[in-house]
Amino acid sequence: MSFISILAHGLTGLGALVLFASGLGVFRMPDVFNKMHAGTKATTLGSVLFLVGLGLFEPSWMPKLLLIVLFIVLTNPVSSHALARAAHNEPSEKPDNLIIDDLADSKGGGQ
């Protein structure tokens, strides 16, 4: 087994594990912002590792896989941010376990 092959196995396995962890995190976390922590960071890194690992198995696929990775890294935090903003703006969706909430204070003060 060459070095590249070991690296490919390691990256793919680790990526799959991180993707699993993101699913578990979304399932277990208590409120929407914390779900987002698992759903954004873990899926992004998981996809990066998994796709790059598969690309090492088939080197000719690498450019296309890197393109998918690039799109995911660029777009995933944006959609997550938009959802977080929506969750904070909508009173019925907002979680009530926040210890400090500067955003609500600054909105309340502004009006």
């Binding site: 699993f20 998981g46 000719s60 995911i72 959802l83 909508e90």
Partner: protein, 87 residues
């Protein structure tokens, strides 16, 4: 890629997909479901690439590419709706 390794990857990705799917169904709040949909689409993108890998044809990667781009748009639309921006 040995068979055992393939099965391990399959089980891990399928498990992650299933857990986020459960959150999508259980939900409780609409934003919870939207976050679960976001996670589900990204895990499925990995799954689509894995299917293309099993079939051994790079042409099938286009599907994963389209899905990764457009699922972002779908989630963004849902977020803008919940935010009150689609009136």
């Amino acid at each position: 890629m040995s068979n055992t390794f393939l099965i391990i990857i399959f089980v891990l990705i399928g498990g992650g997909l299933f857990l986020s799917f459960l959150r999508l169904i259980i939900g409780r709040k609409a934003t919870d479901r939207a976050v679960a949909l976001d996670t589900t689409t990204l895990i499925s993108t990995g799954f689509l690439v894995l299917v293309a890998f099993l079939q051994g044809r790079s042409l099938l990667l286009d599907v994963a590419l389209v899905y990764s781009v457009l699922s972002f748009l779908g989630v963004l639309a849902i977020a803008r709706y919940l935010d009150g921006g689609l009136k």
